[in-house]
């Protein structure tokens, strides 16, 4: 790890070298390792150490950005020069109201020295344990066990300095049989608390239960969706329409509906970068502290997230959801929470005469963004529910479904949410029982 002092030195050098009215420096440094396995053997085992210095130069309202992976004085000077030179070619943009000023940042700890010290040998032994479990049952295990540490430093010429160091540990596995498969994942800040063996057992149990799947006609079914799949739906909602840019461009399902019942009154969805139950991030990529933002409060649309640019357009304050500049995607929620309910597994299943149990979704994509219609496949454990019991495994099905309609039709919510780590940030969601979920075709396995 470089440490706060080292990152601040680099940022200061780069700021001083930037000949502009305003300047911002974002430094991200990481050391990450990933042990990957397939057919119950480690087949890829990797490590990377990297650093990126990103300089944003502002001349009036003209902006240029340049990056480098070198931190020597000459490289920083050249990068600052490239950023400022680029800005000279850009026309003025009256929508840009300037870089944010400093605000108090609430520190949130998401660092474990145990994770930083996790060795290749230890990862390999963890993986071997899961592989041995699978081999003993005549199955094949594949997956990835990744650990790493990330440092983020943000500074600007208005006095912003924000620093955070975090670690991540994420274990994912797909276990496969002749005609079946199962999935599990576990994530934590501290790698030593990740129960890799239980993930292996969960995936193996799902694989064994999903042997000899049968065909099921596509159609609308009452469907129980595990947190893995709920997390995917929530992630796509955030990508499609929970940021201010999509609203300002008229592309969001939130347009014209703030204050209205947009999903079921049992749905409360929010973003909170400071909640230690998630993957906490105290500030965004402009150094603005994260604010808790509620999207749906008992189903009523409340608002979206902002960065300084989109906030400036409306005379509002940034909510601390900027991505690295230049950012054409707009602000993005990265720490999502869906409120759990009170249903245990039996309660979720109770009363379903003929329905489906879905473990996770695969290759989801957006079909129609303003209605939040997604399509994708089920994967790694899809079962028929009959009279409140999981009975038979079925071939995977394609769904084509509006997420908003699905969230308007929730019959029960699981009581134990699960933490799922994304590339940046994470999602904490429970299982859902959805009254009608549309499956439009089936595949052959």
């Amino acid at each position: 790890m470089h440490g706060e002092d080292a990152l601040r030195r680099i940022a200061t050098q780069a700021l001083e070298a930037t000949r502009a009215d305003q300047a911002e420096v974002v430094i991200s440094a990481d050391e990450s390792a990933l042990t990957r396995f397939a057919s119950s053997t480690i087949h890829q085992n990797v490590f990377e150490a990297g650093i990126e210095v990103r300089v944003r130069a502002v001349l009036g309202t003209r902006i240029g950005v340049a990056t480098t992976t070198r931190t020597d004085e000459r490289a920083l000077r050249e990068t600052a020069h490239r950023a400022a030179e680029s800005a000279r070619y850009v026309p003025e943009n009256p929508d840009f109201k300037g870089l944010p000023g400093p605000q108090p940042i609430t520190p949130v700890s998401a660092y474990s020295s145990a994770t930083a010290a996790y060795t290749p040998e230890r990862r390999a032994l963890d993986v071997k344990g899961v592989c041995d479990q699978a081999i003993a049952r005549g199955l094949d295990a594949s997956g990835a066990w990744s650990t790493g540490e990330l440092e983020l430093g943000v500074a600007n010429s208005r006095g912003v300095w924000a620093y955070d160091a975090r670690t991540h540990a994420s274990f994912k596995t797909v276990v496969m049989g002749e005609d079946s498969s199962g999935y599990a994942e576990r994530t934590a800040v501290d790698a030593t608390t990740v129960d890799v063996d239980s993930a292996g057992r969960e995936a193996i149990e799902k694989t064994l239960r999903s042997r000899s799947p049968v065909h099921l006609d596509p159609g609308e079914y009452t469907t129980i969706i595990e947190p893995y799949a709920v997390g995917t739906m929530v992630d796509y909602l955030s990508f499609i329409g929970l940021g201010a840019l999509s609203v300002q461009e008229g592309r969001s399902f939130m347009n014209g509906h703030v204050g209205e019942q947009i999903v079921g009154d049992n749905v409360t969805l929010w973003d909170d970068g400071l909640d230690p139950a998630g993957v906490p991030m105290p500030f965004d990529f402009e150094g603005v502290p994260k604010r808790r933002v509620v999207f749906f409060d008992r189903g009523i649309a409340q608002g979206v997230v902002y960065d300084s640019f989109t906030a400036g357009r409306e005379g509002k304050e940034s909510t601390g959801h900027a991505l690295p500049a230049p950012n054409s995607y707009g602000p993005m929620p990265l720490n999502l929470f869906l409120a759990p309910g009170d249903a245990d597994r039996e309660a979720l299943l109770a009363g379903i005469r003929h329905g489906l149990w879905v473990t996770r979704f695969h290759y989801v994509n957006v079909v129609q963004p303003t209605k939040a219609i997604l399509t994708g496949m089920t994967r790694d454990g899809t079962f028929v529910i009959e009279n409140g019991e999981i009975t038979r495994p079925v071939h995977n099905l394609r769904f084509t479904q509006s997420v908003l309609d699905a969230l308007s039709n929730i019959e029960a919510i699981g009581r134990e949410p699960m933490m799922l780590q994304d590339e940046i940030g994470g999602t904490r969601v429970p299982s859902l029982r959805i009254g009608r979920f549309s499956f439009t075709s089936a595949t052959e396995f």
Binding site: T41, N45, E121, L125, T375, T443
Partner: protein, 476 residues
């Protein structure tokens, strides 16, 4: 770089590696985008780094760093060996690489005009002219234009004696016109979806696009789509435009023939493939379907001198006369079948492990002229420009959406239709192909994702329009 390469390889062998290879990369990317009359982004990226891959006791280790110095080379080489030794703990059989590969030489992307030599001001002016041409159409909500220039200088060396240097240049650009209606968004992209077509080559690729000239047509279509009738739900004949054919080839063939995927190496992420080794020779499509991997095609994003294992760029038939004949392979995967690699291994950046990636996966042209094909089609849909895509984890069940469709009635293009989608099962779909056009060109896909940790690759697809019978359309 030779000295660093020698140092890394020597240290790896000293510490017990039976094989090692090392890659150095310097990358420069310039990205410019505009939106509604303003410059949305102007980004100049530079990155550099190196990586080393080692085999110790028949197991792999890999390590990468952004710091290029003697001590760091030593640290990373030693770490790669340590990681490989840990891999041995969960090894079931030794990795085999087949016969040694010894390549020497240099390769440079041929181009006419260095894209980095074009002044930034001229680039911005071009994009803003295209932007203005779109916004000149009444009713358009968002006009976007973008371009990207990329240069990668990379060096590969191995303990077998390979040393190759490559200088790869890419240029790409495009426009997107977005119209917003009552709870509805419609867009038209040119030359390809999501605002960009890219190729290996120089500024001449941008000039050939004629972005400004095509901008009003895209904007007009986006606005008209708001009021167009919905694509019907039915089984019908479809003629698919070359850009959507590129996506079709990519998802249902290119990924399906990656041998690492077939052998289960991607099972934990993107999945496996229905094209298991026992399927060699199976009927993948009709006799009109011929698909090849060709890393030598001019302007292809998958065109290079050597892959990231030092294997020379090559040509491999994948589907011949509708029959499945071969895979995309690496040294390790090909060795399992006592064959040499056909040179498709690439890494997305200096920090990523090289893995099998598509090169240029091309549907070979047929005999039909496009106008004749439409005239020959009594009833159906012409589907144009990809909008969404999804396929199952064995590459069988797919559902794709395009930005626009036109009815074909009595051999003529008719009404515009919105929100077209189509779906199928891969071999059934390709089996229904009864015509491929002869107007053929290369397309570039810049967002192909694979691997853990994830990495993005630029790949190419040469395609022409093609016709398919009895296809399910109008899923939504």
């Amino acid at each position: 770089m030779r000295d660093y390469a020698r140092r890394a390889l020597d240290l790896a062998q000293l510490r017990g590696a039976s094989f090692a290879d090392v890659r150095f990369e310097e990358r420069r990317v310039q990205s410019i985008s505009t939106k509604n009359g303003a410059v949305d982004a102007l980004l100049e990226e530079e990155s550099q780094g190196f990586n080393i891959r080692v085999l110790v006791d028949g197991a792999w280790g890999f390590a990468a760093s952004a710091v290029l110095s003697g001590p760091e080379v030593d640290r990373i080489a030693a770490l790669a060996v340590e990681i490989a030794r840990s891999s041995v703990l969960a090894k079931r059989e030794n990795v085999q690489l087949g016969s040694p590969v010894v390549s020497q030489g240099t390769y440079r992307t041929p181009f006419q005009k260095d894209p980095f030599a074009v002044p930034v001001g001229d680039k911005i002016a071009l994009l803003l002219r295209a932007d203005a041409a779109m916004r000149g159409v009444g009713g358009l909500a968002i006009a976007e234009a973008a371009l990207e220039c990329l240069r990668i200088r990379k060096t590969y060396a191995s303990t077998e004696g390979s040393y190759v240097e490559q200088d790869l240049v890419e240029t790409g650009g495009g426009i997107v016109a977005t119209a917003v209606g009552e709870g509805e968004v419609q867009q038209r992209s040119f030359p390809n979806s999501f605002g960009r077509h890219q190729g290996t080559g120089g500024w001449e690729l941008i000039e050939a696009m004629q972005l400004v000239e095509n901008a009003p047509r895209m904007a007009e279509q986006a606005v008209l789509l708001l009021g167009a009738p919905q694509c019907p739900s039915e089984f019908t004949t479809v003629v698919i435009d070359p850009t959507q054919m590129a996506l079709q080839v990519h998802e249902s063939c290119g990924h399906a023939v990656e041998l690492d995927r077939v052998l289960g190496m991607e099972a934990a992420y993107a999945g496996t493939s229905f094209l298991t080794p026992d399927k060699i020779g199976m009927k993948y499509g009709s006799e009109h379907v011929n698909i090849v991997a060709d890393a030598t095609v001019p302007t292809g994003l998958g065109t290079f001198g050597w892959d990231d294992e030092g294997v020379p760029a090559g040509f491999t038939p994948l589907i011949s006369g509708g029959r499945f004949v071969d895979y995309l392979s690496s040294r390790e995967t090909a060795a399992r079948f006592d064959k040499p690699s056909n040179g498709t291994v690439r890494a997305g950046s200096w920090s990523r492990l090289p893995i099998i990636r598509m090169t240029n996966i091309n549907l070979l042209p047929g005999q039909w002229g496009f106008d004749d094909l439409i005239a020959d089609t009594d009833r159906g849909l012409y589907l144009d420009t990809n909008r969404s895509w999804s396929i199952d984890d064995k590459r069988l069940n797919f559902q794709f959406g395009t930005e626009i469709a036109w009815e074909i009635v009595g051999g003529k293009l008719g009404r515009m239709l919105k929100n077209p989608t189509y779906a199928g099962i891969t071999p059934e779909f390709w089996g229904s192909c009864d015509a491929v056009c002869r107007e053929w060109r290369m397309w570039g896909t810049t967002n192909c994702g694979k691997g853990q940790p994830p990495q993005t690759m630029h790949v190419g697809h040469g395609t022409a329009a093609a016709r398919f019978r009895n296809v399910r359309v109008g899923i939504v």
